[in-house]
């Protein structure tokens, strides 16, 4: 039996009075394309920051590839790649300089870093502006560059926070193909995205966080089954959504709304915001 790629135990993060992430217990097996979903402010980015060393948890632990992140951060970081929320680019470097720099920060020798830089720039179709600084890249190009930097050392786990936001359709297709190839070779990908269609198409397993708590976790089929059984037991929102599906397979969006949406998807009264056109 292979060890899980990511395990969290009662992982909690408080910001003063606010509990952004509340005792979540998450297990992601190796080789999974894992989608981490939740409404705005649910705690997705906070969780990803804690799993990648960008933020210290208030309590709880996380183990990455069997290693405790707090105790052995360097070993963990060597095996993971991250595209964080703010992209973490040094935008006064050129693309090649930045990738070379990141490669060396992850321990690659100069020759390997240079070779992989050239390959990645070519693959990401960023090689035609060798003198341009990252500050002069479009948002989509910066996203591609951040992804290239996250994979330059061949990580076993890739954490992606909204990787497809602002990326054009052609580039998104190319990136998805690259990510699927990584999965086929045994890597684990932990992805957050608001675009549920993408998550549904790419991810085999999903967890949903709501108001800091983990409210669902499993394969898509397991979540569908969970929503269906909840409908059979008379859960109002779940029953309504299951009814809307009229016997067809529930989409991830319907599952998501059934689990976190009873409040959010409630039809609002006509008189609310009546001054809007």
């Amino acid at each position: 039996m292979t060890q899980p790629a990511i395990v969290t135990e009662d992982l909690t993060r408080r910001f003063g009075e606010l509990v952004a992430v509340n005792q979540i217990n998450l297990t992601v097996d190796g080789g999974q394309f894992f989608g981490f979903l939740g409404p705005n402010g649910a705690g997705k980015s906070t969780t990803i920051k804690m799993l990648t060393g960008l933020l210290a948890p208030t309590s709880g632990r996380s183990r990455i590839l069997g290693l405790d992140l707090e105790e052995r951060p360097i070993e963990v970081k060597r095996q993971i790649g991250v595209v964080p929320e703010g992209l973490a680019l040094f935008d006064r470097l050129t693309g090649a300089e930045y990738l070379n720099f990141v490669g060396r920060m992850y321990g690659l020798d100069r020759a390997t870093a240079a070779q992989r830089t050239a390959e990645l720039l070519d693959f990401m179709q960023l090689a035609d502006r060798p003198k341009a600084l990252l500050a002069d890249y479009s948002h989509g190009m910066q996203k591609k560059m951040a992804l290239a930097a996250a994979v330059i050392h061949g990580p076993k786990i890739l954490f992606l926070d909204e990787p497809f936001e602002g990326v054009d359709t052609i580039a998104a297709g190319m990136l998805k193909a690259m990510l699927n190839r990584m999965i086929a070779r045994g890597a684990t990908i932990f992805l957050t995205s608001h675009v549920l269609e993408i998550v549904e198409r790419l991810c085999s397993h999903v967890a949903i966080i709501h108001q800091g708590r983990l409210v669902a976790q499993g394969s898509l089929e397991e979540l569908r089954a969970g929503v269906a059984s909840s409908a059979n037991l008379g859960g109002t929102s779940a029953a309504q959504i299951a009814g809307d599906a009229r016997g067809e397979k529930l989409t991830l969006e319907q599952i998501f709304l059934a689990i976190v949406g009873p409040e959010a998807s409630r039809p609002r009264a006509e008189e609310e915001l009546s001054w809007l056109m």
Binding site: A56, I74, A88, F90, R92, V102, D109
Partner: protein, 548 residues
């Protein structure tokens, strides 16, 4: 059609923005860092305020005596002092000013008149403007005490003079910022600035060499100088005094004309901003020099370092070479040392400090270099921006980041010390070996002290600086501690020098500083792991401050 029936008036809009600034300030006090920042600003303000108060009182007294004794032709001098402070200090320092960019407000339905007024109000809260206004009040008081009957005319002149200064400073700064926003114009500005310095120096040298020939041209230029604003202000005040040839009206009207012209200049600049001018660097992309030659040099320089330290060191060198503002600030001291040297070593030598005491030239120049470069060491993550997150997600120890950054500044100081040595050797004479060794030992001490304090300050009170933007303000606590640091360094240098003089052994300076440096190096190494832990605990503060 939106439901907004009546657009907000100018007063209301200004009040709304003022309330916004107040709320931002009040909310900044919620955190300990924010409160310490304000405390630092207040204390630094008190220190600089002491100088301003002293100089202001001096100007007031001088104005009183000039008017009371009838030295009316010299009444322009206090106004030149105010003019110089108000116009040159913000451009030269461009620091210690509010960092709120009111252009962010342009997405709201703000009237241009409000935008213009806000720009002026912004300028009024500049430290130089506040000090200048205080000086003007002192001058007004001095003049009023000397001749109470001239008070109405004096107040009118001072009001016009203040308005002219405010409009000019805003216009100049907004144009400077525009020019510095793009890489190409930044390089051009740098070149012009250096040429101006050279030109000034050349003019001085020529003046000294061909004194007789140049004199008629200087005399011919005097009428032009008489038409400059400070002279006009002095003339307008003096004009009211009986028996003086001129009247108040003409110079005051000319002063008003200046204010109007500068107002138009500012209006043109702000109008462009109001229309949504974009000052990004996109158009200058192709101007970036190819990195190949510098890359190989950097690789060579860092080949003996551990990989992460070398990577950080190389990145820092690239950032320095691309940041014209930082580069200019870093190398300006060397240039100024060279220029002062030229001025004091010409064919008609004036009794300059370094001419009389050439042994002081090298230590003096190096101290000046350390003073200027040292300010960057106290906020080493300032230009990292969002890239800062990489220091936390990469499999490196944070101490490697600190060492890489410190090494770059160490190299910069070493290069500049070498340049100062070259300048002093060419302009005066090569400094004695004992002086060189003592100075380098002192520099090592100062550098290590800066690294030690700077690493801590950078982690505790980080402040983001915009790349290529001239205006930047470190945290208040950083400014305060920088003052204290300078005091400690000067006191230590004075004590060690006195000890050497007392014992008659100059070499003792080097020995003492090497010993102190050895101790500091030990402390520096010991603190690197502590600072690594501090960085871990400061992750949120750092990302909040720098990744916005």
């Amino acid at each position: 059609m939106a439901d907004v029936a009546v657009a907000a008036g100018i007063g209301e809009q200004v009040a709304i923005v003022a309330a916004l600034r107040w709320r931002i300030f009040r909310n900044s006090l919620r955190t300990t860092t924010g409160r310490l920042d304000v405390l630092g600003v207040v204390l630094v303000g008190m220190f600089t305020g002491l100088f301003s108060v002293g100089a202001g009182l001096g100007l007031g007294i001088a104005s009183y005596f000039l008017l009371a004794k009838g030295r009316l032709a010299l009444l322009a001098l206090p106004f030149w002092a105010v003019f110089s402070l108000w116009q040159f200090m913000p451009v030269m320092l461009a620091a210690a000013t509010a960092s709120f960019d009111f252009r962010n407000l342009l997405r709201f339905p703000l009237r241009f008149s409000v935008f213009f007024l806000l720009s002026l109000a912004y300028g009024l809260f500049d430290l130089a403007a506040v000090a200048s206004l205080f000086w003007l009040v002192c001058i007004a008081t001095g003049l009023a005490l000397a001749r109470p009957d001239l008070l109405p005319g004096t107040l009118l002149t001072l009001a016009i003079f203040a308005a002219m200064n405010l409009l000019l400073s805003r216009a100049v700064l907004s144009w400077v910022e525009r020019l510095l926003a793009r890489r190409r114009t930044r390089e051009a500005m740098l070149a012009i600035f250096l040429l101006l310095l050279l030109g000034f120096q050349l003019a001085t040298a020529l003046g000294e060499r061909w004194h007789q020939r140049v004199q008629p041209y200087v005399v011919a230029a005097l009428p032009v100088i008489r038409l400059l604003p400070p002279n006009l202000a002095g003339k307008a005040v003096a004009g009211a005094a009986p028996g003086y040839a001129s009247t108040t009206a003409v110079p005051a009207a000319l002063l008003l004309g200046y204010a109007f012209a500068f107002g138009l200049l500012l209006e043109r600049r702000l109008r462009a901003q109001y229309r949504g001018e974009e000052l990004s660097e996109t158009q200058a992309v192709r101007a970036v020099p190819a990195p190949t030659s510098s890359a190989s040099l950097l690789s060579l320089a860092s080949s003996f370092l551990p990989a992460p330290v070398a990577a950080v060191f190389e990145k820092e060198c690239r950032y320095l070479l691309r940041n014209s503002v930082m580069l200019l600030n870093s190398f300006l001291p060397v240039l100024l040392v060279a220029f002062f040297g030229l001025a004091w070593s010409g064919p008609r030598q004036r009794p300059g400090l370094f001419t009389r005491f050439p042994a002081l030239a090298f230590p003096g120049g190096v101290a000046y270099v350390a003073l200027i470069v040292g300010q960057f060491v106290l906020n080493i993550f300032a230009y990292d921006g969002r890239g800062l997150q990489l220091w936390f997600v990469a499999p490196i120890r944070f101490r490697d980041v600190l060492v890489g950054k410190n090494l770059m500044f160490g190299l910069l100081l070493a290069v500049e010390a070498g340049l100062v040595w070259l300048a002093v050797s060419l302009l005066f004479r090569p400094p004695e070996a004992v002086i060189v060794v003592a100075t380098l030992a002192g520099l090592l001490f100062v550098m290590l002290l800066h690294f030690l304090v700077g690493n801590w300050l950078s982690l505790k009170f980080p402040r983001r600086f915009e790349f290529g933007k001239y205006r930047r303000r470190p945290s208040g606590m950083t400014m305060l501690i920088a003052f204290a640091l300078q005091f400690v360094m000067i006191a230590t240098a004075a004590a060690v020098t006195l000890l050497a003089r007392w014992t008659g052994r100059i070499w003792l300076i080097a020995v003492v500083f090497f010993c102190l440096s050895g101790i500091l190096l030990g402390v520096y190494r010991a603190t690197l792991d502590r600072f690594t832990r501090l960085a871990e605990s400061q992750r949120e503060v750092l990302t909040t401050q720098l990744c916005r």
